[in-house]
Symmetry: C2
Amino acid sequence: MEASKIVLVGAGNVATHLGRALRQAGHDIIQVYSRTEESARTLAGQLETGFTVQMDEVRTDAELYVVAVKDDALAEVLPRLVRCSPTALYVHTAGSISIDVWKGLTSRYGVLYPLQTFSRRRPVDFAEIPCFVEARTAADTEYLLRLAGGLSQCVYEATSAQRLYLHVAAVFACNFTNHLYAVCQQLLEEHGLPFEVMLPLIDETARKVHQLPPAEAQTGPARRGDTTVMEHHLQLLHDRPELAAVYDILSKSIYSMTHHD
Amino acid sequence: MEASKIVLVGAGNVATHLGRALRQAGHDIIQVYSRTEESARTLAGQLETGFTVQMDEVRTDAELYVVAVKDDALAEVLPRLVRCSPTALYVHTAGSISIDVWKGLTSRYGVLYPLQTFSRRRPVDFAEIPCFVEARTAADTEYLLRLAGGLSQCVYEATSAQRLYLHVAAVFACNFTNHLYAVCQQLLEEHGLPFEVMLPLIDETARKVHQLPPAEAQTGPARRGDTTVMEHHLQLLHDRPELAAVYDILSKSIYSMTHHD
């Protein structure tokens, strides 16, 4: 696609990764805006562009304004930002904020949501980050699909309602999963075993669901309804009541899903 | 190491995968025993060896007897099996059975436990399966470490007590994790999104803990103590009380682990 002239509003994690990816895809980041001068300067430096900390100095000649600020700053930023240009396309990048946040402010608007798990200490390959787009008009949806397609291999259209469930689903599959890894590490280390022994199984468990639906891939005592093993495990956890509670409720959830099918 | 003459007792999943790996490592599987003729014949055919369904026809000239039968069949099988040879080494392969199950039956015994998640529809690379060994004597431990080292890249010594916790830890990191993937799939499909959209994040979540301890890698609303988002998520799950309960208990567990550190 043709390069777009873009203003980046925000200079945090999302703005940084998105800004780099947009630039790498050949777009022209003409300016970075942030309330915090240091962040604005740092990101503008990385993107070799200008910056401002004054909303009334934001350039008015961009074709696209990408807003990546904290959710609770959106209400204040958006009404001031849309004065820049009545014809440009405006998008925000927040998973749990409806597209309707733009309603009545301007005519061309949408959402570009990268579903990501950032860790400061890990580099990000943007090509692998699923991106979800939504826009008021079909033409702008089309444009955002093409734009995002230049950044990531995994681009989807999603409504605001779908994005909400996407976020909850990600909490289950990523945040909660990571916590189970942490519980595993605690249990192993308390018994003199390094966490590394579990990595091959963790990897295989993740790989398997590329091929099999997770409900079919389910194994273990709860799936088999093996109450002897489950009771034994609960006994082993008797000094960790909070882990026993997690064990119990997840086992029941597995059992009920298996029987429901 | 030198090839060992091995009798395989059992012809199920574990016996099959272990038998193939032992043969590939150059060992001599001289016989397969199983109570079920069809299983015995099938596995013996794959390993190009003989089989029997009669315990009193089990060959007495093996150096190693590997027992991979169901946990509840061990008590019946072991006392009869040890009559084969008073000098051979005997091992079972059950994660949750103590080495003491052999006590008083014979003098050289131990455990060879492959920590695996078998799915019928997926091939297994034995080299990636962590194996845990234990034996009564140091010499036999040494032998089992070498034997297992020929099958897998991940070989460890573990006591019977450690194996119990290994099994519980694996339930958390693998069985429960897979269930969270299944929950994720349900939520996504109920809202018109394919499970595939979550695979990059699932992969990244698993990859991340190769580099960072999981407690450090933790992200999400529970980690941040963001009660607004958590309450919103619980509202989205109001028609799925069992999932809301899982959400609630895991969020509390994350919060308490974070604050404990």
